[in-house]
């Protein structure tokens, strides 16, 4: 199952992608911009999207998910943010985001979430 990691911080992408690749049956792809993310979506149709909300551009991680869902309808997203407030929570729930996690977070915890989502997708 393909997983997309989108974060404008290079260090985060470089850490998270190899760790996710440890999980059996997961192939993770990293992107630092929304443009690169859409290329990966178009090419690999990832079912799980791990998206940073605040990007150094106009689009947010949530905007990327909304567009990605049009291309890969059954994809599931986790939004990573530094400020998980009620307003964002509402926005995410409205468009069907699976989970919101607040930075900083251990990669081990992200791995568990991704693994759980993979199992969920597998069951479907």
């Amino acid at each position: 199952m393909n997983v997309l990691v989108l974060d404008d911080e290079e260090d985060i992408v470089d850490s998270l992608v190899p760790v996710l690749n440890i999980i059996e049956g997961i192939t993770a792809y990293g992107a630092k911009t929304s443009g690169r993310a859409f290329e990966i979506i178009a090419e690999h149709s990832p079912r799980i999207l791990l998206l940073d909300y605040s990007l150094k551009e106009i689009s947010t991680g949530l905007d990327v998910y909304i567009q990605a869902a049009k291309i890969v309808p059954d994809c599931k997203a986790i939004i990573v943010t530094g400020n998980a407030d009620y307003e964002l929570k509402e926005k995410c729930e409205k468009v069907g985001v699976e989970n919101i996690i607040e930075k900083p977070i251990l990669l081990e915890d992200i791995m568990k979430m991704v693994e759980a989502l993979k199992n969920q997708c597998d069951r479907v």
């Binding site: 260090d11 985060i12 850490s15 760790v19 106009i58 977070i105 251990l106 990669l107």
Partner: protein, 725 residues
């Protein structure tokens, strides 16, 4: 006309004038009414006394004596009544008794029990003598009430140590003591002590002294028509006095020398009045203007000017200093303070520089001012001891509330006048007006500060939000880097410990290299976190903009650029084109100020970009920064230009003038700005002896060009060098 008649006439005229004057102005005040009645009664004595002196026979003289005594009998009780009211003493029984006795003596006045007959005395008039049976009792009644009144006045005079009240009591005591001491001599001949009642001549002095006290010390509640009344009284007294004097002294001379009759002998007095009338009128007008109204005129003018000025000032320090200077120039108090509430310290703090007194809000006089919204003065009747001690503690005699729009902001305290004079009613009226204007000005200034604070808070909140994101990103990255290594390390350890796997040198080397890279990255993230913290710290230090040092101007743009990213997270989506010459010579400049300038310029561009985005969805924003050294003019030129909405032509002039309060944002943006950006930027550029210029084409963008001269020495040292040369 004999001396007794003349003195009687003067008493009558002066007292009736004063009585009418006091009654007309503020008849609603009972104290004034009582005083008017008292004056009218004295005038009855005066006029009837004049008639006694002119009486040709004993019978008609006796009639006039009895008329005169209507006035005399009516003097002591109203006088005592007035004193008790004036001193705010309550003695209803004594008062009622004295009025009852007055009625009794009045009833006896037209009987032989009071005055049985008259006797020719002093070769001038028929004087009442011998006394009737109850006459001595009346004299005793008269003396006791007058003496009791003066004892009360004296007692209050001792008790009231300072202030206007003391002056009022002092002058009142003096006036009536002079009047009564003279008047009492009229009783002596009745008892066969044939001393001419010269004292009656001093009776007209008391209305004169009282007039002075009323005008100078607001003895009674009179503040209008003083000038006209003084002139009228003066002219009237002069005319009558001239006729009387000429009748007494001039007429016999003219009759003897020229054999003139009564009508002809009066001509010189008429001529004197005719020729002296106009000059005297002018003299009295000028005297009242200069002596009595001078201060009021000056104060009004000064206050008017101050009121016009102070409401345009929005800086609290300037308002406080201006007010202090005004008060020092006009009132000359020994101390002056404007106390405003400091919520944090829960105290009223004096805002006047160099005097940091404070007062607790629970002070009684503060509470009184809050409740009544009126001034409190130290010698106010009925003041609590605590109020007096509180005011004494801060060396104040007067306190004025500063209240506007129902908000009690604080108060103004004034000490004694350096001259030793007391505060007059005019002073208090003028200071009350001043405190009202002052309150509005303070409220405006505070609102401006609050608005600026709110803007700064909003700005800092936006910055803090951006920085919080950055910090979390750093920690997230560090945690990710370390966590990744931990996960892989764990896997490696497990593999190495397993029996199947053997020691693999290359694999271990690879791991070490990966760990080394991760540590380096973590270190780098820590450094970035620290630099973010420093940026925030620097930005909140106000003195930083004034710290000059040898700096590279190019650094300022980089710092401004990184700061703007904290304020607007999506700023990185804007294309930034940098043409920065990093070989620009170092110059004596404030890096903090230049960073602020770049930050403001980028912030303005950002706002303008947002506007254009709304109008054109396909618009690609771009900001270009050019920095280079112009050797021909030894200046550094900074150009920050954008392709955004720009500034409307009609607003360019104001933008370039850097008018405080003017904002480009209201014209080009849907947002509204406070306008501090451009004026602040102008100030910071001028600090570097530089210039700036905005050029713009509406819809196409704008460019800010800044020229800063390169200096190897700060301006203040350069000046010293020139002086040395």
């Amino acid at each position: 006309m004999g001396l007794f008649s003349l003195s009687g006439l003067l008493v009558g005229i002066s007292c009736i004038s004063m009585g009418i004057w006091v009654y007309i102005h503020r008849r609603s005040n009972p104290i004034n009414t009582v005083w008017s009645l008292f004056c009218i009664f004295v005038s009855i004595w005066g006029f009837a006394g004049c008639a006694i002196g002119l009486s040709k026979d004993a019978a008609s003289a006796l009639v006039f004596w009895r008329v005169a005594y209507i006035g005399v009998i009516l003097i002591p009780a109203p006088f005592y009544h007035f004193v008790t009211k004036f001193l705010e003493i309550k003695r209803p029984i004594t008062l009622m008794t004295s009025y009852a006795m007055t009625v009794f003596f009045l009833a006896a006045d037209f009987t032989p029990l009071m005055m049985p007959g008259t006797k020719w005395m002093f070769d001038e008039l028929f004087y009442v003598s011998p006394p009737g049976l109850i006459y001595p009792y009346f004299v005793a009644f008269f003396i006791v009430l007058v003496a009791a009144s003066h004892i009360d006045l004296g007692r209050y005079l001792v008790m009231t140590s300072t202030g206007r009240r003391r002056e009022q009591i002092k002058w009142f005591f003096m006036a009536t003591a002079v009047g009564f001491a003279g008047g009492i001599t009229c009783f002596l001949p009745v008892f066969g002590i044939e001393i001419y009642p010269y004292g009656n001549l001093t009776v007209p002095l008391y209305p004169l002294i009282m007039t002075y006290a009323i005008l100078r010390h607001q003895l009674l509640d009179i503040d209008v028509f003083i000038k006209k009344a003084t002139i009228f009284t003066g002219m009237f007294a002069f005319s009558v006095g001239a006729i009387a004097i000429m009748s007494v002294f001039g007429r016999p001379i003219f009759q003897e020398l020229f054999g003139w009759g009564d009508i002809l002998s009066s001509i010189p007095s008429v001529l004197i009045i005719l020729f002296a009338f106009e000059p005297l009128k002018n003299l009295l007008t000028n005297t009242t203007e200069n002596f009595l109204f001078q201060k009021k005129f000056d104060y009004s003018q000064v206050l008017k000017l101050f009121v016009e000025d102070v409401l345009t000032v929005l800086d609290l320090r300037v308002i406080i200093k201006g007010t202090k200077d005004l008060i020092d120039k006009t009132i000359h108090p020994a101390s002056f303070g404007i106390y405003l509430l400091d919520i944090g310290r829960n105290a009223y703090i004096n805002q006047v520089e160099g005097d940091e007194k404070s007062l607790v809000p629970s002070a009684v006089f503060i509470q009184q001012m809050k409740e009544r919204n009126k001034c409190v003065y130290i010698d106010q009747p009925g003041n609590e001891e605590r109020v007096i001690s509180e005011l004494n503690e801060v060396e104040a005699v007067l306190a004025f509330p500063l209240e506007s729009q129902g908000k009690f902001l604080g108060f103004m305290l004034l000490g004694k006048k350096k001259s030793g004079d007391d505060y007059t009613k005019d002073d208090i009226d003028i200071l009350t007006d001043l405190s009202k204007t002052e309150s509005i000005a303070i409220l405006n200034a505070k609102a401006t500060v609050e608005l600026a604070d709110a803007k700064i808070t909003k700005h800092l909140a936006a910055m803090a939000d951006g920085m919080s994101h950055q910090f979390k990103n750093r920690f997230h990255a560090i945690m990710g880097l370390l966590n990744k290594e931990k996960i892989f390390m764990k896997r490696d350890i497990e593999m190495m410990e397993s029996e199947e796997k053997k020691y693999d040198y290359d694999a271990v080397l690879k791991r070490f290299k990966e760990i080394d890279t991760a540590i380096e990255k973590a270190e780098s993230n820590c450094k970035r976190g620290a630099s973010i913290a420093n940026a925030l710290l620097n930005r909140t230090r106000p003195d930083r903009k004034k710290q000059f040092d040898m700096n590279q101007v190019a650094d300022a743009f980089g710092m401004g650029l990184s700061l703007i990213g904290f304020k607007h997270r999506d700023f990185n989506s804007i294309k930034i084109v940098e043409h920065i010459d990093h070989k620009i010579p170092k110059s004596w400049l404030s890096i903090g100020a230049l960073e602020e300038i770049c930050f403001n310029a980028l912030d303005n561009s950002y706002d303008s970009i947002q506007d254009k985005k709304k109008l054109d969805p396909n618009y690609i924003p771009e900001i270009e920064c050019i920095m280079h050294y112009k050797s021909e003019s030894s200046t550094i030129q900074i150009v920050i230009k954008d392709n955004a909405q720009g500034i409307k032509a009609e607003n360019l002039e104001k933008t370039n003038a850097g008018i405080p309060g003017f904002t480009t944002k209201g014209t080009s943006s849907l947002k509204s700005g406070f306008g501090a950006g451009i004026s602040t930027m102008k100030e910071l550029i001028q600090m570097h002896a530089g210039t700036y210029h905005y050029s713009s084409e509406w819809g196409k963008g704008s460019a800010l060009t800044i020229n800063i001269p390169v200096k190897s020495t700060p301006e203040r040292y350069r000046k010293d060098e020139r002086k040395g040369m």
